[in-house]
Amino acid sequence: MTEAVLAVEAPGASAPGASGARQFWRRLRTQRAALVAAVVVALLVLVALAAPLLTAVEGQDPTTYHPSLVDSARGGVPIGSFGGISGDHWLGVEPQTGRDLFARLVYGARVSLGVALAATVVQVLIGVVVGVAAGLGSRLVDQLLSRFTDVIVAMPLMIMALALLAIVPSSFPRPVLVALVIGLIAWGSIAKIVRAQTLTLKGLDYVAAARLSGWGTWRIARRELLPGIAAPVITYAALLVPTNITVEAALSFLGVGVKPPTPSWGQMLTAADVWYQAAPQYLLLPAGALFVTVLALTVLGDGVRTALDPRAASRLRVGTGRKREAKA
């Protein structure tokens, strides 16, 4: 890198007192798209959390049937224009049942976002534990864990989800189960990333210095490695959330997602796809919600990545007059 780059990066980097987190926010703030996305995500989370409140304002709930609002003779298509939109039902009603769509949409946000976030947490936990253990462990441990990761990666996700969801008793809360199953099956790539990062960090001098200080492996993993792993993991996790939302939708399509009457976007989409012609808004609402969510989360994820970009950090340290010597 030239001095030019050094110079570009230098002023902020040398601002006194700028901690890692503050730098992160500063870099994130410079990206307008990521900021907008962050606001959208925050709104969505807010809507999900405030679902009971919002539906109370509307005066509806997501489970009450309104047989009188649908045309029973025509397959249960909502009566009235635009899917039965009215002052009582802000976004119209669901075909066949007449349940309030607005209520189902905001309650669906709870499940879809909740499941996706929880699944991501599980994926990250398992991935980090396995990845760090493989990266730090002996050759044998590494071999075993890496092989196990390969096995998990090579297992078809949907199939294992189908099988696992069938095994667990139905009394187990379903959204938790769906999140657990997605998390338990799809942690392979995160483990691989963490392992690679661990191996990289393990070779860094500050880890060697910590060893020379006399610390044990566990302490080194906790104090020296985990913070360094956080950046790529957060980046990847931000992109896993939207993926998990669509996985939940797919599981619903296969009939093993969240159970009725609990609404989720995936389930709404599944029920709605055939209504595309007869009651378009029934499909467009959850599809639009899903699109906005995935888009916002993805843009936010990209923003987080840019803000955490280890290369941006590495550019800081390369000045002139430095001799790089290959380490054996």
Binding site: L162, A166, I167, T246, L295
Partner: protein, 329 residues
């Protein structure tokens, strides 16, 4: 190279065996009376018992797994009632439901899945990498925003929505294409392609976004590298820098992701297959899971696992071909 192959093959065998063990265990504890399901709901207890014995369902788990391994290595004989037939190694057993050899079943379904995934792969590479290159080049401009939006729409919309809407519009309303119906490549290559066009597109739209994002990110990373600065400092045009140098450098992660997604899609394109009525591995597998047809499930999962493992090995080789600094190990 031969050492690499030997290690990879050994690794693959271990991985696949581990997968088969997991599947056996998982399905052993799955609820559902397999014999009753296989026999039919009105079968009497005595009949169910007969079926269970015939399928060795009463044997302990390890014995059934051992039988499976024996079949795999040495083949096995089975009775059709009127005669005894041999299922030669590698024999994955017989379907509980249809009494067909699982290997034959796989051979029948595989061309469909491969047709779907190969074609879709070509499309998603064109769409994804193309979009990625364009958006790296035009970064921050309107073109990039639009392209990003379009590819993300693909990833954010489940395939059963995209596919259905595409089909209703393209085949039903505009009548531009026939409703997809699988035609074997060997029967009629042209019809094969026409009929698969929509499934390809649907699947490719789902996958393209990931490639676009990855291509863009690694292009930007490569563009920040020193050798790009060299070519800029020598008056090489931006087009050549993007198309020749940056893209080449960005290909490695794309190859890796492609291997992963290709392998995964062989068995993971369940929804696409179901929607378009393509009798592929994924659809068959979901059905087999529903009816607890263990031999079919194990066989299909192994095939999928094989493709994931093989695709990754191919990616490693490609990787080494693309970048000769890489040593295969």
């Amino acid at each position: 190279m031969s050492g690499f192959l030997a290690r990879r093959i050994l690794g693959a065998v271990i991985t696949l065996l581990a997968i088969s063990v997991i599947v056996y265990v998982v399905f052993y504890v799955t609820p559902g009376n397999v014999a009753q399901i296989t026999c039919g709901p009105r079968c009497s207890p005595a009949q169910v018992q007969q079926v269970a014995e015939q399928l060795h369902l009463n044997d302990p788990l390890y014995a059934r797994y051992w039988d499976f391994l024996q079949g795999l290595v040495a083949g096995q004989d089975y009775s059709t009632g009127t005669s005894v037939q041999h299922c030669s190694a590698p024999c994955l057993g017989l379907s509980y439901q249809s009494d067909q050899q699982v290997t034959a079943l796989i051979l029948a379904k595989l061309p469909v899945s491969l047709s779907l995934v190969f074609g879709a792969m070509v499309l998603w590479l064109i769409l994804g990498v193309g979009t990625g290159v364009l958006s790296a080049w035009r970064r921050g401009r309107l073109t990039e925003r639009l392209l990003t939006g379009v590819t993300l729409a693909g990833v954010a919309t489940p395939v059963f929505v995209i596919g259905l809407v595409l089909m209703i519009v393209v085949c039903g309303q505009l009548q531009l294409l026939p409703f997809p119906q699988y035609v074997a490549f060997t029967d009629d290559p042209e019809q094969w392609a026409w009929n698969l066009l929509l499934p390809w597109l649907s699947l490719a739209l789902i996958e393209a976004a990931a490639f676009a994002r990855l291509t863009r990110a690694s292009m930007l990373e490569t563009l920040a590298e020193d050798h790009i600065r060299t070519f800029r400092a020598y008056g090489v045009g931006e087009r050549s820098i993007i198309g020749r140098h940056a893209l080449r450098g960005a290909l490695a992660p794309v190859i890796a992701l492609n291997a992963n997604n290709f392998g995964g899609a062989v068995g993971g394109a369940v929804l696409t297959e179901t929607l378009f009525g393509l009798p592929g591995i994924g659809q068959e597998l979901v059905h087999a899971v529903n009816v607890v047809d263990l031999p079919v499930v194990v066989g299909m999962v192994l095939v999928i696992g094989f493709f994931v493992v093989a695709a990754n090995a191919v990616a490693d080789v490609l990787y080494a071909v693309a970048d000769r600094r890489v040593v295969l190990a």
